[in-house]
């Protein structure tokens, strides 16, 4: 654009109201430009602006024409438009561009797949296509077994350089595509039953008042709880992004974290919409019941679902917890770890005591006074903090206990916090 002009300066206005720019504008209607105003200004060098502009709208049944949609040109510009000559549609049928029709700056019709013209007005270009007859069809990428007319068979793979004349085929037996497990989700069935919920132990340094009073909960139904914490690949497949960070563990088989409770609801809504079952977050009671394990588990009411641990409540020395959980004592490398690499609990659930903490469905209440006793989520009230359970990769042993509970605002996220889900069984 060349050098900028140097006509910067101040012109003074003594007239009073209004800031200079706008005041100057009002006065310009009266005094085209000799007034005094209290503003600084600077001018550009003179330029040529050509706003004699025309639009070109291009449409096509196939392919991505160049240009496509609506584009804009200075009148008199030379425009080159084209589209790929032939294509295969989604079913493998072959189509060829048979020319175009249009209006404005182009003739009413043409027979080629390229066109150069001078645009002088609003122009419409529509590419035309025709389906090639069977003898001109060529398949590049069908996968399966092709029975040819001579009684010969050909196996088709996805080698796109391989050309087969479909016209010679008697029939095609496509190779079936294996149906994967839905999102690779795996569940353990947790049978109905009762348990004592809360801080059953009374060990100094291991008991938290918000886990009291201990109360009996009877879950009158079986439910399925995901064997592993929801992974980053599952999250990404559903939500389209991965909120994890390399510095705190990132990879398809790592548990997802940095997800708010609200986002978990969105995740669940999406998988429910896929029509492959009904899913939800576990209630806090369901989570603790599943964590403690069955009646037969001698450690059901211990600190953890396994043996009597020798862990220090707040230290990081190696202890029995190392075998079952990723926690502060074995947090190397720093961050979340791949799922399922430690021992499961008696019901086959992995990472219940560590790796990432897990959102539950309930609103947070300061203690269990008034809590439901039927296993349902405690959702009354307006508290926006939601409960999370289980231990985390950078947490002390006492916060990895079966009874430990804490909360976070439902819209907040944490690198220590992920979730697992319940699949409804009815």
């Amino acid at each position: 654009m060349g050098n900028p002009a140097k006509r910067e300066g101040v012109i003074n206005c003594g007239s009073g109201r209004g800031r200079g720019i706008f005041h100057a504008y009002f006065l310009l209607f009266l005094f085209p430009f000799s007034l005094a105003q209290a503003v600084e200004f600077s001018d550009s060098t003179p330029v040529r602006l050509n706003l004699d502009i025309n639009s070109l709208t291009v449409s096509s049944a196939f392919e991505e024409p160049t240009p496509g949609g609506t584009t804009y040109y200075i009148s008199g510009s030379s425009v080159k438009a084209e589209v790929v000559k032939n294509i295969f549609d989604e079913l493998g049928s072959r189509w060829m561009c048979s020319g175009w029709i249009g209006s404005g700056s182009i003739p009413a019709e043409g027979t080629k797949n390229k066109l150069t013209f001078t645009i002088t007005g609003g122009t419409r270009l529509i590419w035309q296509w025709r389906l090639l007859p069977p003898w001109e069809q060529v398949s590049y990428y069908l996968i399966g077994e092709l029975n040819l007319s001579e009684g010969e068979k050909k196996t088709l793979d996805d080698n796109r350089d391989k050309k087969i004349d479909v016209a010679d085929a008697v029939s095609l037996v496509p190779t079936p595509t294996p149906t994967p497990t839905f999102l690779d989700l795996e569940f353990e069935t947790i049978p109905a039953g009762s348990f004592e919920m809360g801080a059953v132990n009374d060990d100094p340094g291991w008991t938290f008042p918000n886990s009291e009073p201990v109360h009996t909960v009877t879950i009158g139904y079986d439910f399925q709880l995901s064997r592993y914490e929801i992974t980053q690949s599952q999250w990404e497949e559903v939500m389209g992004y991965n909120p994890a960070s390399v510095s705190t563990g990132k990879g398809p088989h790592y548990p997802v974290y940095n997800v708010s409770w609200n986002e978990c609801q969105e995740f669940i809504a999406r998988i429910n919409a896929m029509g492959r079952g009904t899913y939800r977050l576990p209630s806090e009671a369901e989570w603790e019941y599943a964590c403690r394990g069955p009646v037969e588990n001698p450690h059901r009411y211990g600190r953890f679902s396994f043996g009597d641990s020798d862990c220090d409540a707040t230290g990081d020395a190696s202890c029995e917890l190392d075998e079952y959980a990723w926690w502060r004592g074995n947090n190397k490398p720093n961050g979340a770890k791949k799922i399922g690499r430690k021992k499961p609990n008696p019901w086959g659930l992995y990472d219940m005591h560590g790796n990432v903490m897990e959102w539950c469905r309930d609103r947070f209440h300061l203690n269990y006074d008034g809590a439901p006793s039927d296993g349902s989520a405690w959702e009354s009230g307006t508290e926006k903090n939601r409960v999370f359970r289980g231990g985390g990769w950078n947490h002390n042993a006492n916060t990895c206990q079966s009874s430990f509970r804490n909360s976070l605002h439902q819209s907040e996220k944490s690198p220590y916090l992920g979730f697992r889900i319940v699949k409804e069984m009815w």
Binding site: M1, I21, E40, L49, L51, I53, F62, G69, T70, G122
Partner: protein
């Protein structure tokens, strides 16, 4: 929605957290009442020093090569102490000798609170302002001034709607009443419910310019004897007073400055013994409106002005605003009057009630030898508008410019509450700039009063009457569900049409990197118009949740009546909601509004 709580709301402003140049506290202001934006004078009086104005340099202009409708303007902005300034731009067509044109269609570093620094950039939609012209010797002048002083939230109106949308329109006004006009993106916005801050992404909290909504306005022109009096001057000797010609000129400039998709209606009143006339229905056709204005004196007044039926004219004009779609429209009415009206059957009270029921702000320009400003102020202030007195004929244009400034200064704040219960909560919001904050607390909101389908967006075709076989219609989105990366519309029409994607820099919904493709139906006569994000697999490229604005425009030819388009025999338009089955089940409801 009603605006009847307006006075109460002003007193609900709860917090001013002060401290940086640019926004000062009401109590800490160095300005005197009435001094307003004239920072120079008051600061000089109180401190004895001359304020240092921001300086501009290095202004560069270049027309985009890939879309020549737009022009980049860059400049450097400097001030020894202030972090921002106010910026405007003028256009010269004669190499810089005169600058008769203010540049309006600007986005980017323009208006109030532009940060100081080098490489400031604005994008001028030059084609919109000067279509078809070739400027061989254009010079752009960048004007810089001190930023606004104290301001506060004023004239808030609420347009809450389903699904669970909290929607507020308001102004940021200085103590003098002048509007702050600024890029909404410069402000940090935080919405709160019962005092708890919300996650902006989850709730789609978004501050935009009020004119991002579908703007619909009425102009009410006064051709009574008070205006037509030759005592106001008749410089060109055509028998039409200078006051009338100034009013017409101001209205034409006003129309020109409004965006291309604004619907404008026109009324006139000229005698007490004749009803006011609807000169034009709502239309986007600006040249048609200008032609209609030109013809009022001869076609309606016929050189015989008389007394006023201004109130009847206002009431009739308000009645033309449709009863629906209020939440997606910014509505206002501008009228001229001397405040005297003995002949109308309607009263100012009727007008205020009607305006509030249709969510119409009223702006007035008071002019005349026998000016009575009281009813004008009553009507305008009670509807959230303003009244400007034009003491002289030349003041009419100035008053109209104040109104234009007001309209540009309207902001919209919207969020989608996550609450679904019938428990009311108190919404509030904080606007901050450079570490300083304004807080506003509104009346309680009950989610169940606005329940609706969150996954269902809405699209609406809006058009204006056909003129000489041509019209332009716009497809607007009034509410965008979460995670929309593609919109697919099927159109089958016998009428030739050019389709345009309206992007953000044109005031549209879609970011610059969104694309439009048109796919013809291979075995039919229709076409699929696909609007897609740069990466439809990436939800980070989604349209903002809850967003609104124009999406497409169609220049249509060969048409006799607007009602034939998309609705006549063989015509069809629909939206393809099947594309959302894998993305959460969103959908759009498509409506043709003619």
């Amino acid at each position: 929605m009603s605006r009847s709580y307006y006075i109460i709301c002003i007193f609900l402003i709860t917090a001013w957290i002060p401290a940086a140049p640019g926004i000062s506290t009401p109590t800490g202001s160095s300005r005197k009442p009435g001094a307003g934006r004239d920072l120079n004078r008051t600061i000089t009086e109180e401190t004895g020093t001359t304020p240092v104005l921001p300086s501009v340099s290095n202004v560069r202009v270049s027309q985009w090569s890939f879309d020549p409708r737009f022009v980049d303007i860059t400049y450097d902005l400097d001030h020894p102490s202030l972090p921002y300034a106010s910026i405007g731009a003028m256009l010269s067509l004669d190499g810089g000798k005169t600058f008769p044109h203010r540049i309006n269609s600007l986005l980017g570093d323009v208006n109030d609170f532009v940060p100081t620094g080098s490489g400031r950039r604005m994008i001028w939609n030059a084609f919109r302002d000067h279509p078809g012209s070739v400027m061989d010797n254009a010079v752009i002048r960048i004007l810089a001034d001190l930023p606004p002083g104290d301001f506060t939230i004023k004239n808030l109106s609420r347009n809450h709607a389903a699904p669970f949308l909290l929607d507020f329109n308001f102004f940021l006004r200085e103590q003098t009443g002048a509007s702050v006009v600024s890029n909404p993106k410069r402000f940090q916005i935080k919405a709160l419910e019962d005092g708890s801050p919300l996650d902006g992404a989850e709730t789609g909290t978004r501050l935009t310019s009020g004119i991002s909504k579908q703007v619909r306005c009425q102009l009410i022109m006064d051709y009574t004897a008070g205006m037509a009096d030759i005592a106001h001057g008749d410089q060109d000797g055509d028998g039409i007073s200078d006051a009338i010609e100034e009013m017409e000129g101001a209205c034409k400039r006003f129309i020109e400055e409004l965006r291309a998709d604004v619907l404008i209606g026109l009324y006139e009143f000229h005698r007490e013994d004749q009803s006011p006339n609807r000169v034009s229905d709502f239309t986007m056709n600006k040249s048609e409106l200008e032609d209609r204005i030109k013809a009022i004196w001869t076609d309606y007044v016929q050189s015989f002005p008389g007394g006023s039926r201004c109130w009847d004219a206002l009431h009739a004009a308000i009645g033309d605003f449709p009863g629906n779609h209020q939440y997606d429209e910014l509505r206002f009415l501008v009228f001229f009057s001397d405040g005297n009206d003995e002949s109308s059957t309607r009263t100012p009270i009727d007008i205020v009630q009607a305006a509030l029921s249709r969510n119409v702000r009223i702006y007035g320009i008071g002019f005349g030898n026998n000016l009575d400003p009281a009813p004008l102020k009553a009507i305008t202030t009670q509807t959230g508008g303003s009244c400007y007195e034009a003491g002289t004929v030349s003041g009419i244009g100035n008053a109209m410019n104040h109104i234009m400034q007001d309209i540009r200064g309207e902001f919209n704040l919207r969020w989608v509450t996550l609450k679904r219960s019938d428990m009311p909560f108190t919404p509030s919001f904080r606007i901050s700039l450079q570490g300083r904050e304004l807080e506003y607390t509104d009346l309680p909101f009950t989610p169940t009063d606005y329940q609706g389908e969150l996954l269902r967006g809405n699209l609406r075709f809006i058009g204006s009457p056909v003129k000489q076989g041509k019209t332009t219609v716009f497809l607007r989105c009034g509410y965008t569900p979460r995670y929309i990366r593609k919109i697919r519309i099927y159109v089958k029409s016998r009428y030739p049409h050019l389709v345009h994607l309206t992007r953000e820099q044109e005031g549209g919904l879609c970011p610059l990197d969104w694309q439009m493709r048109i796919r013809d139906e291979i075995d039919g006569e229709g076409e699929w118009i696909e609007v897609t994000s740069p990466n439809p697999d990436d939800i980070n490229t989604s349209l903002p949740y809850g967003a609104f604005g124009p999406l497409l425009s169609f220049d249509v030819t060969g048409l006799e009546r607007l009602s034939d388009l998309f609705l006549g025999t063989g015509e069809e338009v629909r939206v393809d909601n099947g594309i959302y089955t894998e993305t959460g089940g969103q959908s759009f409801l498509l409506e043709v509004d003619w």
